[in-house]
Amino acid sequence: MIAEYLTTRFGLPEWLACGGVALVQCLILLGIMMFAAALFTWMERKVAGRIQDRLGPTRVGGRFGWLQSVADGVKLLAKEDLIPGEADGLLFRLAPYVSFCAAFCVYLALPFSNGWVAQHLNVGVFFIVAIAGLEVFGVILGGYSSASKWSLYGAMREAAQVVSYEVPLGLCVVIPVMVAGTLDLVAIGNMQRGWGVNWLVFHNPFLFITFFIYALCTLASTNRAPFDLAEAESELVAGFLTEYSGFRWSVFFMAEYGSMYAMSGLGAILFLGGWHGPIPLAEMLGLSYANHAVLGWLGDLLGAGNFLCKAFLGVAAMMWLRWTLPRLRIDQVMTTCLKYCVPLAAAMFVGTMLWTYALPGGLLPRSTPLGAVAEAPPWTAPRAARGERP
């Protein structure tokens, strides 16, 4: 790997090489997350504007207000940082970072393309689901430590909602995992290689339905409208965010957008072919490691573009819903989860199980990838399997 390369080629000490590479990886991921947050803040304003028959930001940065997020960021940094007198100061300060860390850790195991992943875990799916559930801690701590009843309401709603929706979300994730036979996200992505019909969402009708349940649960677990009860403005002022201002508020915000993007990405890998486009363009062009290392790398780059687009579209759909639908009531949110999502997901689970048992190949004939099956690049295997220490 790069660290080995650096050690052997330039004689860097191992600790420096490893540490440096880890640092760079972290910075890249942080960059992606921050950029996503900035992009989506701007995009949300534009999308909301267009849906509401207005323009959204137009001035900042010349055209389209593309620097609006920067202006927002500067404004938020310059804002007075208030902590309520009654608040538990330590927890109040800690809470946004808890949320942010959880959202960030998801990116550690999220592959952006064939093997482009910071930490290739062979239980990647499981890790992401586990970590994504931890974001709620920040919300609960923030709501509790604000010493405001509205914040507390927001926190309690969030707790109830996230804990409930983790069940159908977990079930929905397990179904494609069952079809794929692995928890390794890279492997799941790679088995959907080829034409669009190979995507798991088209594997069988049950998986097709599962995808929509997954989308619903994603909305709920990332706290987006119509499930944004924790910060329901017209009911709870701003819910757990009521007492937050300035930078800490923006950290919560980045965590929200970060996890929206991550969950869209997870959905893209599990259901929508990950980094494989509907047309196997890379293979048609011969961009594979079998031909040349650089070509293979280019193919992966194309894949990363594919993946980012799919995740982006997922977020765009979330925005579309937010600016269209009214908010559900808490009992309706719970009913949706417990009475509809859980039984449906369970039924889909059983259905998929029977389907794969009866028709192991799937209904649609799997299109064979063009040309020779591309050989996976050497670093796609889990790191541990190569016998190295992280």
Binding site: P13, E14, W15, C18, G19, E86, D88, L90, L91, L94, L121, N122, V123, F126, F127, V129, A130, I131, G133, L134, V136, F137, I140, L141, G143, Y144, S145, A147, L152, A155, M156, A159, V163, E166, L183, P382, R383, A384, A385, G387, R389, P390
Partner: protein, 205 residues
């Protein structure tokens, strides 16, 4: 020469211990829960270091995630008066110390009794090397096939004992029954009261 592995091990171990102590020392229920979360999360970090991804993710999901409920209860209990602190009497300290000490001794005994861990060389070649793929062996073990014991000379050991599937299923069904029972018991039965008897806040507030 820095060994990152050792570095991180020390870091995570320190965090684990420090927050464990903080849980004991802290007087505020919610802060206790937060320290417990930090401690448990650091343990999960240790598992990652040991290349036991599956166990680590499990730790995150079950223990750290499970603390959520604890946290929520803590919040609910202290929501009335802000940040109620706990009063701890010396007797509590004594009893807790006894129980904790006993467990610590048990743990130390167990740790020193495993021969393989006594030499550093063996520890380095611990199963972690072929690990990473911890899911499949665990799954197989449930079905009664010990992957790590395939090279065992003793065929009785090689086949595993009987697998853990049956006990696992029994335990899960048991848990389900307990859950249903708890839900039934806790179900709020509503009692009707005539509207007149309702305390009217517009009058009293």
């Amino acid at each position: 020469m820095i060994n990152w592995h050792t570095c991180f091990f020390l870091l995570f171990a320190t965090i684990t211990c420090a927050f464990a102590v903080a849980v004991v020392v802290s007087a505020n229920v919610v802060r206790m829960a937060v320290c417990l979360i930090a401690s448990l999360a650091a343990v999960s970090g240790l598992y990652f270091l040991a290349v036991a991804d599956f166990v680590a993710a499990m730790q995150l999901m079950i223990y750290v995630g499970g603390t959520l409920v604890l946290l929520v209860f803590g919040v609910m209990l202290t929501a009335r008066g802000p940040f109620v602190s706990m009063k701890i009497t010396p007797a509590n300290w004594l009893m807790a110390g006894l129980a904790g000490g006993a467990l610590l001794i048990l743990l130390l005994c167990a740790a020193t009794s495993v021969d393989a861990w006594k030499t550093a060389a063996v520890a380095a070649s611990a199963p972690a090397a072929e690990g990473g793929h911890t899911v499949a062996p665990i799954g197989m073990a449930l079905l009664g096939i010990r992957v790590d014991a395939l090279e065992q000379a003793n065929p009785a050991l090689r086949g595993g004992i009987a697998g853990y599937l049956l006990p696992f299923e029994i335990v899960s069904v048991h848990l389900l029954v307990v859950l249903v029972g708890a839900a039934h018991l806790a179900r709020a039965r509503r009692r009707r009261r005539p509207a007149e008897a309702v305390p009217d806040a517009s009058r009293s507030a």
